[in-house]
C-alpha cells in the first residue's frame, strides 16, 4: 500500500496523463521528493528553487490544508490521500481558455 497523490490537470503532462499516482514518504517533503524521482520535472512546478512550496500551490492531506497542519513537515502514511491544487484554480482548471 502507498500514498495516493492527486495531480492537477496542468501537471498531468508530467505524469503521463495520470490524475492519480502512488508515492511513498513519511512527510510531505519526502513525498514530493519521491514524486520527483518517479516523474522528473514535477517538483520544480510545485516548489520554488529553494525547495519551498510555491505560494499559489495548495497541498491537502486527507482534505486538510497543510498550512493548517505542519506545512511541508506534515506527516503522511500509507493509505493517505494527498491533493495538489493550484490556489486560483478551484480544483481542476488548466488556466487557459480559448474562445
Amino acid at each position: 500500500m502507498a500514498i495516493t497523490v492527486r495531480i492537477p490537470t496542468p501537471l498531468q503532462r508530467l505524469t503521463n496523463g495520470q490524475g492519480e499516482v502512488s508515492c511513498d514518504g513519511k512527510t510531505v517533503t519526502e513525498l514530493l521528493g519521491d514524486l520527483e524521482r518517479r516523474y522528473p520535472g514535477i517538483k520544480e512546478r510545485i516548489c520554488d528553487p529553494q525547495g519551498k512550496l510555491r505560494r499559489f500551490v495548495n497541498v491537502f492531506v486527507n482534505e486538510e490544508d497543510i498550512r493548517f497542519l505542519q506545512g511541508d513537515q506534515t506527516a503522511v502514511k500509507d493509505g493517505d490521500e494527498v491533493s495538489i491544487i493550484p490556489a486560483i484554480a478551484g480544483g481542476s482548471y488548466s488556466g487557459h481558455v480559448t474562445v
Partner: protein
C-alpha cells in the same frame, strides 16, 4: 492603439501573450498586464489629460484594451473632497474622501473594473459574461452587460442584503444565489468557467478587470493637484484595490506625472473577516483563509485572491492594518453621514472605523494628509442599520400635533 506589451507572471516573471490567460502555467501565480511606458510617457501628459472627458477612460493608455472603450463611458471620475468636519471629529488636520458611493451607474467602485473587463471581453469575442460577487460586482456586471447587450450569469452567496439582490435583478441577469460563502461561490465559478466559454470577469478576465481599479488611484492623484497623500486607508476584500492603487501611484511616478510617491498604505477589514490584516500584523508570507462572519458582506472574502500582494504593498510602503467590529462599523457609517453628508455601505464604515483606530493609536499622525477610500453606497446595505438610527417622529397633519410632539426640539426657537 494599445500600449499593452503582454501579460507577465507576478511570481516568476514568465511572459504570456495578451490573451485569456489568468494564471501562470508554470508556477500558478497570477499574471498581470505589462505596458510600454516609454510610449505612454509621450502621449499621456497633464495637458492632454486636461481636455479629456471626466470618466475613468481619460487614463485609457494605462488600461488594457486594444481598441476604443465601449463600456462604462460615463463611469469613474467620482467626487474627491476635503472633509473638514470629519477631520475635526477625528482630530486631524488634512483629511480627504474619495467617494465612489456615487459612481455611475451602480454606486460602487466596481463600475471601474467592470468597464474595463467588459470592453476587453467584447474584444475577445465573448457574448456571455459572468462573475462571482459579494454584491457590488453583481450589480455592476448586471448593469453594464445589459447596456452592452451581453448575456450575463451572476453568482452570489444566498444570504446577501436585499438591496444588492434587487439592484442586480432589475437588469434581468440570470442571478444564481449559491448556498454557501463567497469563497464557495468563487470556487464553483472556477469550475463552471473551466467548462463554459464565458468571460468570468473576476476569474479568467481578472488580469484585465483588475487594472480598472488603478483609475481610483489616478483620480486621487489628479484631483489632489498631481500629488499623493501621505496616508491612504483602503478597504480589502480580495485585496486587489490596495495592490492596484499602489501600482497606479508607481506608474504616475514612472511617467513623470508625480514627482515622487511616498504614500503609506493601510488595509481595512472587518474583525469578522480579516485574513489580510492578520497577515500584515504577523508580517507573514502566507494568507491563512478564514470563515467570514461580519455585517460587511461586501468584504466577506475569507480566502483573498490578492491577499499576498496587498500585504506586500502595505508593508513595503511602511503602512499598517486594522480591523473594525460590527458596532464600530455602524458608528463610523453614522459619523460619515453626520459630518460629511455621505451615506456609505458597511464597507465604508469599515474603512472609516479603521482610520479612526489608526489615528487614535498614533499609527497615522494627526498633522499629515490622509485619504479615506469610500467605495460603496449605504442604500444597498440597510439591514444592519435597522433599529440603530432611531425613527421618524410621527404626527397628525396639524400645527398642534407638530408642537405637541416636538416640544423639546422647538423650544427656544423664536416663532415668527
Amino acid at each position: 492603439m494599445s500600449y499593452v506589451i503582454g501579460l507577465k507572471c507576478r511570481e516568476c516573471g514568465r511572459r504570456y501573450p495578451k490573451e485569456v490567460v489568468f494564471v501562470c502555467e508554470y508556477c500558478f501565480g497570477g499574471v498581470e498586464v505589462d505596458y510600454d511606458y516609454d510610449a505612454i510617457r509621450r502621449v499621456l501628459t497633464k495637458t492632454a489629460l486636461a481636455s479629456r472627458p471626466k470618466s475613468l477612460w481619460r487614463y485609457r493608455e494605462l488600461l488594457p484594451i486594444e481598441g476604443e472603450p465601449t463600456v462604462g463611458l460615463t463611469s469613474g471620475f467620482t467626487p474627491f473632497f476635503r472633509a473638514d468636519r470629519l477631520a475635526t471629529a477625528l482630530g486631524v488636520r488634512e483629511l480627504y474622501i474619495k467617494d465612489d458611493s456615487v459612481s455611475h451607474p451602480t454606486l460602487s467602485f466596481k463600475d471601474r473594473v467592470v468597464s474595463v473587463a467588459l470592453t476587453r471581453a467584447k474584444e475577445f469575442g465573448f457574448d456571455t459574461v459572468a462573475c462571482a460577487s459579494t454584491g457590488n460586482l453583481a450589480n455592476s456586471v448586471s448593469a453594464h452587460a445589459a447596456k452592452a447587450g451581453l448575456k450575463r450569469f451572476i453568482f452570489i452567496p444566498a444570504d446577501l442584503e436585499m438591496g444588492k439582490v434587487i439592484a442586480s435583478l432589475i437588469y434581468q441577469p440570470t442571478l444564481i444565489a449559491v448556498e454557501g460563502t463567497y469563497d464557495e461561490v468563487n470556487r464553483l465559478c472556477a469550475e463552471i468557467g473551466a467548462k463554459y466559454p464565458w468571460a468570468f470577469v473576476n476569474i479568467n478576465i481578472r488580469p484585465y478587470y483588475a487594472e480598472g481599479s488603478k483609475t481610483y488611484g489616478y483620480e486621487i492623484a489628479e484631483q489632489l493637484g498631481w500629488r499623493v497623500p501621505q496616508h491612504i486607508v483602503i478597504p480589502a476584500a480580495g485585496g486587489s484595490l490596495i495592490t492596484k492603487i499602489g501600482k497606479a501611484f508607481k506608474e504616475l511616478t514612472l511617467l513623470g506625472l508625480l514627482s515622487e510617491a511616498h504614500t503609506k498604505f493601510y488595509c481595512a477589514q472587518a474583525t469578522g473577516c480579516a485574513p489580510i490584516v492578520t497577515t500584515i500584523k504577523a508580517r507573514a508570507d502566507i494568507v491563512k483563509p478564514v470563515k467570514p462572519n461580519t455585517i460587511a458582506k461586501s468584504l466577506a472574502i475569507g480566502n483573498p485572491a490578492d491577499g499576498y500582494s496587498a500585504t506586500k504593498t502595505v508593508l513595503d510602503s511602511g503602512g499598517w492594518a486594522e480591523s473594525a467590529s460590527d458596532d464600530e462599523i455602524i458608528e463610523a457609517m453614522k459619523l460619515l453621514a453626520e459630518t460629511e453628508g455621505v451615506f456609505t455601505e458597511t464597507a465604508g464604515g469599515v474603512t472609516l472605523a479603521v482610520t479612526k483606530k489608526l489615528i487614535e493609536q498614533g499609527t497615522i499622525p494627526r498633522d499629515e494628509s490622509i485619504v479615506v477610500c469610500i467605495t460603496g453606497n449605504g442604500l444597498k446595505t440597510q439591514e444592519p442599520l435597522m433599529n440603530r438610527l432611531g425613527s421618524a417622529t410621527r404626527i397628525k397633519p396639524t400645527l398642534a400635533s407638530f408642537e405637541d410632539n416636538l416640544g423639546d426640539r422647538i423650544r427656544g426657537v423664536s416663532a415668527r
